[in-house]
C-alpha cells in the first residue's frame, strides 16, 4: 500500500504545478504555429518540444546535478550544499534552490560540480543547453551555415544598399531605449544588459538573439528566442503596412535597373574584407562575423565544396535540433510566465516596426542625394530575416508596378542587415564586456 502511494507521489499528475500546465499549453500553441501556420518550424518545433519536456513534473530534464542533488539528496548531501551556499543548517529545500539559482558564478559552478562529484547527473536538457548555448558554440555554427548559404552578389553589385542595412538596426537600439524607459518609469525592472538583449530581437536574426541573450541575460533567453523567431515569421504581416505608411505610391513604383554581374573574385574577397574590418574596428564581433565569413568563404572559394555542403546541411541541421531543444530549457514557467515576457513581446514588435520604418526612411533620405533613385520599398529588407523580408519588398513592389521585380535589389540590404545586426551585437558585447 505504501509503495503504491509512493508510486502515486512519483506520478506526473500528483506533482503537476499550474505553471507547468500553463507552459504545456504554450508549447502546444507554438506547435500549432510551427506546424499549421508554418512559423519558422525549424526552430519553433524543437523549442516547443523542449518546452514540453522541461515542464514534465518530476522528470528533472532541466535540472543540473546540483538541483538534482538538492531536490532528491539525503541529509548529508543537503548539509554539504548548505555549507557551500552559506546557508543556515535548517534552511529548507526551497531556500536552498533559491540560493543556488541566484548564487554568484563561482559558487554556482562549484555547486554544479559538487552535485556531479556526489554522483548526481545533469538532466538531458541542461546538458544540451550547456553544450550548445552556454558554450556559445551552437549559434556560431548556425552562423557559419548561414554564411555558407548567403550570396553577397546583389550587395556587391550595389554596395550603397549597405546603408539600408545599417539604418534598420535603429530598431535594435530604439528598442533598448524603450526597455530602458519602461524601467525608468517603473513599468518593468529590466537591467541595462537585459534591455540590450531584448533590443537585439529587432535584428530579426534568431541565432544572434540567442547568442547575445545567453551572454547578457540568460534568464530571458526563452522569451527572447520565441519572440525573435515568431516575429521573423510574421514579417509578411508586420512590414507591409509600415512600408506603405512611409512611402508614396509614386515612390513604390520606382523602377530599378538590373544589377551588374559580380565576378567570383569579388565574392571571394568580400568575406575577407568584412573579417579584416572586424579585426580592426570591432574585435568583439569576431566570433559571430568570423564564423559567418568563414562559411561564406567556404562557399565562394569553390575549392572546399564538401565542407561547404556539410556546413549548410548535416552540421546546421544537427545543431538546429539541439539548439531548439536547449532553448526549451529556459522555458520553465517561472522564467516565462511573468510580465517581463509580455513586455518583451511588445518591445519585440516595436523593434520590428521601428527597424522597418528606419530602413524605408533611410532609402528616402538617400534618394535626396542619388542620381538614380532607389525604390524605398527595399529599405525594409534591411532588418534581415533573410529572405523573407526581401520577398516582402518584392511583393509590395509588384502590387504597384507589375513589371518591377525588386527581389534581387532587396537581397542587398537584406544580407547587409545580417552584418548590421552582428555588428550591433558586437557593440553590446564590447559595451558590457
Amino acid at each position: 500500500m505504501e509503495t503504491l502511494l509512493n508510486f502515486w507521489h512519483d506520478s506526473g499528475i500528483y506533482q503537476l504545478e499550474p505553471g507547468q500546465f500553463a507552459m504545456m499549453i504554450v508549447a502546444f500553441g507554438m506547435l500549432y504555429l510551427a506546424i499549421k501556420k508554418g512559423f519558422e518550424p525549424l526552430l519553433l518545433l524543437p523549442i516547443a518540444v523542449g518546452t514540453l519536456m522541461v515542464n514534465i513534473p518530476g522528470a528533472g530534464l532541466g535540472w543540473s546535478a546540483a538541483e538534482q542533488a538538492i531536490r532528491t539528496g539525503g541529509a548529508d548531501v543537503l548539509e554539504q550544499f548548505r555549507t557551500l551556499l552559506g546557508l543556515a543548517a535548517n534552511a529548507d529545500i526551497a531556500t536552498m534552490l533559491d540560493a543556488y539559482h541566484h548564487a554568484e558564478t563561482p559558487i554556482y559552478k562549484q555547486a554544479v560540480m559538487l552535485g556531479k562529484t556526489l554522483g548526481f547527473e545533469n538532466g538531458m536538457l541542461y546538458t544540451f543547453y550547456s553544450m550548445t548555448i552556454a558554450s556559445g558554440v551552437a549559434p556560431l555554427l548556425i552562423f557559419m551555415g548561414v554564411g555558407a548559404m548567403t550570396d553577397f552578389g546583389p550587395l556587391l553589385a550595389n554596395p550603397k544598399t549597405l546603408l539600408l542595412g545599417a539604418a534598420a538596426q535603429f530598431g535594435i537600439f530604439g528598442t533598448v531605449i524603450g526597455a530602458v524607459l519602461m524601467t525608468h518609469y517603473g513599468i518593468t525592472d529590466f537591467s541595462a544588459m537585459q534591455a540590450a538583449a531584448i533590443g537585439i530581437i529587432g535584428g530579426a536574426d534568431g541565432p544572434t538573439s540567442i547568442f547575445i541573450a545567453s551572454k547578457l541575460a540568460p534568464e530571458l533567453l526563452g522569451a527572447i528566442a520565441v519572440a525573435a523567431y515568431s516575429y521573423m515569421a510574421l514579417v509578411p504581416m508586420i512590414q507591409p503596412p509600415i512600408m506603405k505608411l512611409f512611402t508614396t505610391a509614386e515612390e513604390r513604383k520606382i523602377k530599378m535597373e538590373q544589377l551588374r554581374t559580380v565576378s567570383k573574385l569579388e565574392k571571394i574577397l568580400f568575406p575577407l574584407a568584412v573579417l579584416v574590418l572586424v579585426a580592426f574596428i570591432l574585435p568583439s564581433a569576431a566570433p559571430l562575423l568570423g564564423m559567418f565569413c568563414f562559411g561564406n568563404l567556404m562557399k565562394e572559394s569553390g575549392v572546399v565544396e564538401r565542407l561547404s555542403d556539410t556546413a549548410q546541411n548535416a552540421l546546421i541541421n544537427v545543431v538546429t535540433i539541439f539548439l531548439g531543444l536547449s532553448v526549451g530549457y529556459k522555458m520553465s514557467s517561472d522564467a516565462f510566465l511573468n510580465w517581463e515576457t509580455i513586455a518583451i513581446i511588445v518591445l519585440g514588435l516595436v523593434a520590428f516596426c521601428v527597424g522597418t520604418a528606419a530602413g524605408v526612411l533611410m532609402a528616402k533620405a538617400m534618394n535626396l542625394f542619388l542620381k538614380t533613385p532607389i525604390n524605398p520599398l527595399i529599405g525594409s529588407a534591411g532588418v534581415s530575416a533573410v529572405p523573407m523580408a526581401a520577398r516582402v519588398s518584392n511583393k509590395v513592389g509588384l502590387e504597384y508596378n507589375p513589371q518591377n521585380f525588386l527581389l534581387m535589389h532587396a537581397m542587398g540590404p537584406n544580407v547587409a542587415g545580417v552584418i548590421g545586426s552582428a555588428v550591433a551585437a558586437g557593440v553590446m558585447l564590447s559595451y558590457f564586456g
Binding site: 550587395l155 556587391l156 554596395p159 550603397k160 549597405l162 546603408l163 542595412g165 545599417a166 538596426q169 535603429f170 535594435i172 537600439f173 530604439g174 533598448v176 531605449i177 526597455a179 530602458v180 524607459l181 524601467t183 525608468h184 529590466f190 537591467s191 541595462a192 534591455a195 540590450a196 533590443g199 559580380v262 565576378s263 567570383k264 573574385l265 569579388e266 574577397l269 568580400f270 574584407a273 568584412v274 574590418l277 574596428i281 570591432l282 572559394s301 569553390g302 575549392v303 565544396e305 547587409a416 552584418i419 548590421g420 555588428v423 550591433a424 558586437g426 557593440v427 553590446m428 559595451y431
Partner: protein, 79 residues
C-alpha cells in the same frame, strides 16, 4: 538622468555610430576592391572556378553524382 537611461542612450549612440561607421567603411572597401578586381583581374579568375557549379548542358556530372548517391542510399535503406 537615471544611470539606466544613460546606459540606453550610450548604447544608442555608440551602437548606431559603430554600425554606420562599420558599414560605410565596408562600402568604401567593397567599392575599391570591386574597382581593382574589375580593372586588373577582369573575369580571369572566376572562369575556372565557375565551371564547377555551372549547370552544363546535357548530362550534369554533379547531378549524376547526386543521383548515384541517392540510389546507393535508397538501396541501403531498403535492406
Amino acid at each position: 538622468m537615471s544611470p539606466i537611461v544613460a546606459d540606453g542612450l550610450g548604447l544608442l549612440g555608440f551602437g548606431m555610430g559603430t554600425v554606420f561607421v562599420f558599414l560605410i567603411l565596408l562600402i568604401f572597401a567593397t567599392s575599391i576592391m570591386s574597382t581593382i578586381v574589375n580593372k586588373y583581374f577582369p573575369e580571369a579568375a572566376p572562369v575556372p572556378a565557375k565551371k564547377r557549379s555551372q549547370p552544363s548542358q546535357g548530362a550534369d556530372p554533379q547531378l549524376l553524382k547526386v543521383l548515384a548517391a541517392a540510389v546507393k542510399e535508397h538501396k541501403a535503406r531498403q535492406k
